[in-house]
Subunit: 237 residues, 2 copies
DNA sequence: CATTATTACTTGTATATACAAGTGCAAAGA
DNA sequence: TCTTTGCACTTGTATATACAAGTAATAATG
C-alpha cells in the first residue's frame, strides 16, 4: 500500500510552515505575495491560496487585503498547549525528551476516561510514556495511547527528536483537527513526585485529552502531568 | 458608513450553519451535495466549497470523498471553560454567582502579568470579583479587570444574571474574538481556602486570561481560580 | 508645501472547466 | 446465487481567468 503523494497545496503548506517554524520568516514579516509564490512554485493562485488558507487556519499567518500575508508566529496551538507545542512555546534548544516507557503494543479498555470503540479495543494500542525537561528541569510527563491501526513502523520511530504530531502529519497524512480535553489540578502522587523531584502535596496540572484527526474514527489520547512551578501552560484561543 | 454586503460564500455558510444549529440537519445527516447546492443557490462549485470549508473549519461538518458532507453537530467553543462534573452537563439552574467585590473603578499597572497600554493605565479599570457555585459548591473564583473606556453604566449593571460576554456583546457590540491564557496549578492561599472551604495544600487551578475583542486595542482580563476536585474544566479545541 | 489623484501593487471574490479518486449500487457475468 | 464489472454519483485537486477592493507610494495639482 504505497502512500499517495501529497497534493501540491499541501506540499507548499509544509514548506511555508517549516520556514516559519525555523525562523526564516519571523513574526511581522510579509510572506512572498501570492503571485510570487505562484511563479516560484509553478502553481496557480487558487492552489497557492489553498495553502495559505491552511496557514491562516492554523494561526501561522494573517492576511490583509492590499498588504499581504503577515507572519504571526507560532500556531494558536491546538487547545491549550500546542502539542507540537511544548516545542513551539519554549524553544527547541532547551527542551529534551526522555522516553520512560518505550512505544509498545498493549491492550486497552478505555483511555483516560474517554471511550474507545470495540474495534480499537481488539487492535490494542501503542503505548508510551515520556518525560520532558526544560533547561534540565522536568516539566511534563505524558502518557500517550494510539490505536494500533495501519501505522507501520510507528513504534520504531524516534519520539525524541520529532513531535508525535509532526510524525503523524508528515508520514501518515494524519492531521489533528480538534479534540476534547479535561483539565484539573491534583497533588503529585508517588511516581510523579519522583519524576518531577518534588515533595508531597506539590500541585500538579493534569490534562486528559482526546485528539481527533482527519482520518475518520481515528483518535488518540494522552494524559499530561505538568509541573507549573517554573513554566505555566500558555495557549491562544 | 454602510456595511458592505456579505459575500456569497459567507451567506451560504450562514444559511447552512443556521440549518444545522436549528436542527434541520441533524448529526449524521448528509448535506445536499455540492452540485445540488450550486444549483439551488446559483453558485459555482468553488464558491460552494468555500462555504463548506468554513463549516468544516468550525467543526459543523466533515466531508468524505465519494460520500458527501456529514453533519457533525455543534461547533468547537471558544477557549475552555465549559464545565463537566460527574453529571454530564450542568444546567444553568445549578450555577449561582455571588459578587464578592462589586464593580468599581480603580487604577492598575498591569493585569495578571499581561501588559497594558499607557492610555489604559491612565483611564483606570473596572474591577470586580465573583464567586461561582455549582450545586451550592464553590467552584470558581474570578477577578475581572476591564479597561475603563467608553462603557457607560457598566459598573451598575448586574453581573449576576448575565454573563459578562453577553453584556458586552449585546450592549456594547463588543465581541470576544480570541485571547491568550496561562494555566497553572497552585495550592490554595488563605483567601482561596476560605472561599472554597478547603484546607491548606489543596490543589487549585489558576487561569490568567487576556480576552481580545473586535474593537481594536480593547482587551480585558481575568484571573480564575478553580477547585477541580468535583468538577474539572473541559473544553474542545 | 500640502493635498489630491494616479498607479501599481496586494488580497478578496467568483466563474468556468477538467480530471482524479473514493463510494455505493445496479447490471452483467460466472 | 455470488462475484465482478461498470456506471453514476460524490468530493478532491488543479488550472485559467476576470474583476473588485484595499494599501501604499508616487506623481500631479492646488
Amino acid at each position: 500500500m504505497a502512500l499517495k503523494e501529497a497534493p501540491q497545496y499541501r506540499k507548499l503548506y509544509e514548506k511555508l510552515r517549516s520556514l516559519i517554524e525555523d525562523g526564516t520568516y519571523k513574526r511581522g514579516d510579509l510572506l512572498p505575495s501570492e503571485n510570487e509564490l505562484c511563479a516560484a512554485h509553478h502553481l496557480t493562485r487558487p492552489t497557492v491560496r489553498n495553502a495559505l488558507d491552511m496557514l491562516v487556519n492554523d494561526g501561522f499567518i494573517i492576511r490583509h487585503q492590499g498588504k499581504g500575508s503577515i507572519v504571526q508566529g507560532q500556531p494558536k496551538g491546538i487547545g491549550i498547549l500546542s502539542l507540537s507545542g511544548t516545542t513551539s512555546a519554549i524553544g527547541q534548544d532547551n527542551l529534551t525528551t526522555r522516553i520512560i516507557v518505550k512505544p509498545n503494543i498493549r491492550s486497552w479498555e478505555q483511555a483516560f476516561g474517554y471511550e474507545i470503540t470495540e474495534k480499537q479495543k481488539s487492535m490494542g494500542c501503542i503505548y508510551l510514556e515520556r518525560l520532558r525537561l526544560i533547561n534540565e528541569i522536568p516539566v511534563f510527563y505524558d502518557i500517550t495511547m494510539i490505536p494500533n491501526l495501519n501505522l507501520p513502523r510507528l513504534t520504531s520511530r524516534t519520539f525524541e527528536d520529532r513531535s508525535l504530531f509532526e510524525i503523524l502529519r508528515k508520514h501518515y497524512q494524519i492531521q489533528v483537527k480538534g479534540g476534547e480535553q479535561k483539565i484539573l489540578a491534583i497533588t503529585a502522587d508517588q511516581r510523579i513526585q519522583e519524576h518531577f523531584n518534588v515533595k508531597k502535596n506539590h500541585p500538579i496540572l493534569r490534562v486528559d485529552r482526546k485528539m481527533e484527526t482527519n482520518r475518520a474514527g481515528f483518535s488518540f489520547f494522552s494524559q499530561i502531568y505538568c509541573n507549573t512551578r517554573d513554566y505555566s501552560l500558555i495557549g491562544r484561543f
